[in-house]
Symmetry: C2
Subunit: 162 residues, 2 copies
Amino acid sequence: MVNDADQIAAAWMREAISLGREGMRANEGGPFGAVVVCSGKIVGRGCNQVTSTCDPTAHAEVLALRQACHSLGRFELRGCEIYASCEPCPMCLAAIYWARLDKAYYGCSRQEAAAIGFDDDFIYTQMPLPISQRSLPMEQISPNESRSLFEEWSAKPDKVPY
Amino acid sequence: MVNDADQIAAAWMREAISLGREGMRANEGGPFGAVVVCSGKIVGRGCNQVTSTCDPTAHAEVLALRQACHSLGRFELRGCEIYASCEPCPMCLAAIYWARLDKAYYGCSRQEAAAIGFDDDFIYTQMPLPISQRSLPMEQISPNESRSLFEEWSAKPDKVPY
């Protein structure tokens, strides 16, 4: 049995898929779309624009989150949900955590994205690895100088936490 | 013994720290700065601007990557290195993978960021969890409709992979 909430969620997902399809056909980027919904209205839309805008962070979810924050005039999205045509990659998932959305709906899986040549699944495998075991070389330098920045932040009387 | 390469790396890191300090003092956002270096020159700069621009994705690294891609006119950054005043969060680390940089240098650790109130470490713990065990509710819907987008991409003759 399909209830009203399921039908509404499916309608938002259709909008996300439609955005992804339009973007792909217009050669804006990969086959991915997303919408952010707040109180029954779309407040952010995005389709992948990595290759057309020369921006590796221009994933559908990131663009939809940014537009939603801009629309609502705040840097977090409590009370909002995101609908993404594919399971968010680690960049987008972490962005969803930073933006503190209530829920994420997704269509395809990261494995299906991998099957058509995208690195989502590979990047997921890199995330929990110790730094020394990642394919990306990483090196810690100047920790004391960097720490002084954190100490100044801790003591800053007018900071805006997020 | 400190060699030339170490001294040069320390100088780029000082620039990243300096950007983070300026941004923090100007109330642009948190205490984080980053630079992207290509062939011995800075091609992208960023300081955290989450709270001032209402953009949860406006981390120093993301802004530096975006500026570097814009400067170089390409959507990936092979041959480049990033210097970040703090260990990149999962969003930024995944962005670094998508942009295919050669190496990432970092100052403070994610644990130090946690100690001054930032969620980097918490979000790292969420990444490898099965979807059902995350603190963020996630639900898969409309997988078949989403998959049709991937099928169209696979068959698209003029796609630009990334």
